[in-house]
């Protein structure tokens, strides 16, 4: 049995465990891959983090993005999944699921490029509509400090809803129909059935969705790279993943970039552990 698992374990070790270990070691060096000798600097890279205003700005932006996007994503996808599940015709249900999943198939970079055009100040369709319908002057969506993260959030909601719609749909399909039949007999309406049956019985699905959505949103990069060009105005669109990229590949300071990456890793790990404990489900149906 062990030999059957060996290939995937090797793959996992080579492409996941090894890079994480290498990054951890690198964070203790003043590391530049072009140099033959790289000095050991101990905890200096981590000490520098505490005195780096751009790191704190990136941390704040990351938390803002994650804690605004994930709850919105879950609420919206839950509503959509419920609406789709309530449709009687199965072909229509499948069609809607495909429709909502389509943005997930498109590469994030490509769809970000399209949205960048939508957000264009002078020629973008969003400003044209606002001006045409409500006579609102053009808004610099991606070039205004207070608007760049909300603009990325809006795009991310559109691009990333599909997965959770599918997972919630699968969860809803798995709830035994007996509960709903009993509720119907008791005279429960659709809203009452949703809050008293669907929502509580989606506990396991919820736990999974929340964990995976938080983890993936902490790690999001492509849309920030495309939409918040160069970290946005005055770093207003800089998140930790972008800061890692910029520090490692533009400033060629891989030691410091590794220290930021380890911090992000710890942040995600702590958050996931807490979230798993809070949302622990120890029952079944």
């Amino acid at each position: 049995m062990f030999f059957v698992l060996l290939p995937i374990l090797l793959l996992y070790f080579t492409f996941l465990v090894l890079p994480i270990g290498a990054g951890f070691v690198m964070s203790f060096f003043d590391y530049n891959p072009l140099r033959t000798n790289n000095d050991f600097v101990g905890l200096a890279n981590f000490a520098r983090l505490t005195n780096d205003p751009v790191f704190f700005k990136a941390l704040r932006n990351t938390l803002y993005f994650v804690f605004a996007t994930v709850p919105l994503n879950i609420i919206i996808t839950l509503i959509i999944a419920q609406l789709i599940s309530s449709l009687d015709w199965s072909k229509l249900r499948a069609s809607f699921r495909v429709l909502f999943f389509m943005p997930c198939i498109a590469p994030l970079v490509a769809s970000s490029m399209v949205w960048k055009q939508l957000y264009n100040v002078r020629y973008g369709i969003i400003n044209s509509m606002l001006e045409g319908l409500f006579n609102i002057q053009p808004i610099n969506w991606l070039g205004t400090q207070s608007l760049v993260i909300p603009s990325v959030i809006l795009f991310t909601l559109w691009a990333d809803m599909g997965y959770n719609v599918i997972i919630f749909s699968a969860g809803m399909d798995g709830i035994p129909s007996d509960f709903y039949e009993a509720a119907n007999i008791d005279g429960a309406g659709p809203i009452s059935r949703f809050f008293n049956i669907t929502l509580p019985l989606l506990g396991r699905t919820f736990s999974f969705v929340i964990a995976m959505t938080f983890i993936s949103h902490f790690q999001m990069f492509a849309q920030f790279q495309v939409l918040a060009t160069k970290g946005g105005p005055n770093n207003a669109g800089t998140v930790l993943t972008y800061l890692i990229y910029k520090t490692a590949f533009q400033n060629k300071n891989m030691g410091y970039a590794s220290a930021i990456a380890i911090t992000l890793f710890l942040l995600i790990m702590i958050f996931t552990i807490v979230q798993q404990r809070v949302n622990r489900v120890d029952w079944g149906y």
């Binding site: 072009l34 699921r97 389509m102 198939i105 020629y123 070039g143």
Partner: protein
């Protein structure tokens, strides 16, 4: 089962998309010159040469390669051109692996500083370098130098200050002469600027660009008798540094000559590109944008626009310039002699002059810049040539970082109301802690 149907539909969609991507997307990362298709004999040395894709430049490079190969039949140059966005990453990755990559690189001077202390490039042979140094302007060598050695040979003087694009039809319509002094320039800008809601119908003086903001500011400091560095330390927070930054801030906040679009990247258009669309009166930029205006925007030089001298802010005609494009040889090349032979061939004065004329770049050598053939062939370079002696090497640091931090500081002052003094001090701190 609806979920199963969904998965089936999804799989089908993905298969179709994958097939389309396979058919349409299998393009090579680099465009090579087809040397592989030609026969390379055993006694020939093959050198790889990496450049970025630029139709104008690539055509001239091909000409030089053909001339070199005709004169040196024992050497074959295999040129590979990469998309601009990937070019630096390709160079970096190839050098980091210590194998593969190219024998010769077309290298941006601003990147050279990052590689200088790593030993990845071969030092320029002393005799050749002595000739290059004798005739070169100071900024063209700056980043290529490290610890007394030089790791690149310049192909151009990269200039982003001293000239500006002017909207010829608008000047004619208003019967205005091109400004001769800084004050005249600002007065004209004030008169012609037309705001439109949150943006502009027409911008008078559109200086906040990715490069231009930093170059305008550093020149204002230098021409006023100040400095922005003391040895390796950044010292923008001097009275002159603060006063000149306040002046630039006032052009936005008080005079409203333009806005921050050029540095917030929201429209993916630099100020000079907006200029070519007829949206501004004056834009500071290097002369290399002139061919773009003609070729990409279909404008006629002398009719639709001109490139003229930009007045200096202070009494001294001084400005900062970074090291531009040059040639560097991989320290790991198996054929260093052949590689340097090619670089020396390219650097021969007449050949380089021809290259500079064809690519609209300023020659790195004083003798070539003042060669009458140059200004005769590229007349719009005339205002720049006269001020090149006032160019000062910008400094040994990552220039992209400085430009980015200056832009961030400018946004912070304008949008967040941070005082100029605090913002400039913070800039010094950030740059000195890099």
């Amino acid at each position: 089962m609806s979920l199963r149907k969904f998965l089936k539909t999804l799989m089908l969609t993905m298969v179709v998309i994958c097939a389309l991507v396979l058919v349409a997307g299998c393009t090579s990362a680099a465009e090579d010159d087809g040397t592989d298709a030609t026969t390379v004999t055993d006694d020939q040395t093959v050198l790889t040469f990496w450049v970025h894709i630029d139709n104008l430049w690539n055509a001239e490079q091909d000409k030089i390669i053909a001339e070199f190969e005709a004169e040196n039949p024992d050497i074959v140059i295999k040129k590979e051109a990469f998309p601009w966005d990937d070019f630096e990453a390709k160079i970096q990755t190839s050098l980091a692996t210590k194998e593969g990559g190219a024998d010769i690189y077309l290298l941006w001077g601003g990147w050279a500083g990052d590689y200088a202390d790593t030993g990845v490039f071969s030092p320029v042979p002393a005799d050749f370098m002595a000739e290059v140094k004798e005739d070169s302007y100071e900024p063209v060598l700056g980043s290529f130098e490290y610890d007394g050695n030089y790791y690149g040979v310049p192909l151009e003087f990269n200039n982003e200050y001293g000239g500006m694009l002017v909207n010829t039809p608008k000047f004619e319509e208003l019967e205005l002469d091109y400004p001769a002094t800084w004050d005249e320039m600002i007065d004209i800008a004030r008169d012609v600027t037309v705001p439109k809601g949150n943006t502009f119908e027409f911008r008078g003086f559109d200086f906040p660009g990715e490069d231009s903001l930093t170059y305008v500011w550093t020149s204002m400091i230098l021409s006023s008798g100040g400095q922005y560095m003391d040895g390796d330390e950044f010292t923008f927070a001097t009275p002159i540094g603060i006063e000149t930054m306040q002046t630039l801030v006032d052009y936005i906040k008080v005079d409203g000559l333009t806005d921050l679009d050029g540095i917030t990247n929201a429209e993916e258009q630099e100020p000079y590109q907006k200029f070519f669309l007829g949206e501004s009166m004056m834009v500071p930029r290097g002369p290399w944008v002139v061919p773009e205006g003609e070729e990409e925007y279909g404008l006629t030089y002398g009719v639709d626009f001109e490139f003229v001298s930009m007045p200096f802010y202070g009494a001294d005609k001084k400005f900062a310039a970074e090291t531009g494009w040059g040639l560097a040889v991989n320290a790991a090349t198996q054929n260093p002699d052949a590689a340097w032979k090619f670089v020396e061939f390219w650097s021969q004065k007449d050949r380089l002059l021809e290259y500079n004329i064809a690519t609209a770049t300023i020659p790195p050598y004083k003798s070539l810049a003042h060669d009458p053939r140059f200004v005769e062939a590229v007349p719009y370079m005339a205002p720049i040539i006269d001020i090149l002696d006032g160019g000062q090497f910008i400094g040994h640091f990552n220039t992209s970082t400085l430009k980015e931090e200056v832009a961030n500081m400018f946004v912070d002052i304008i949008d967040n109301g941070t005082s100029v003094e605090d913002a400039v001090k913070a800039l010094d701190d950030i740059m000195n802690n890099q």
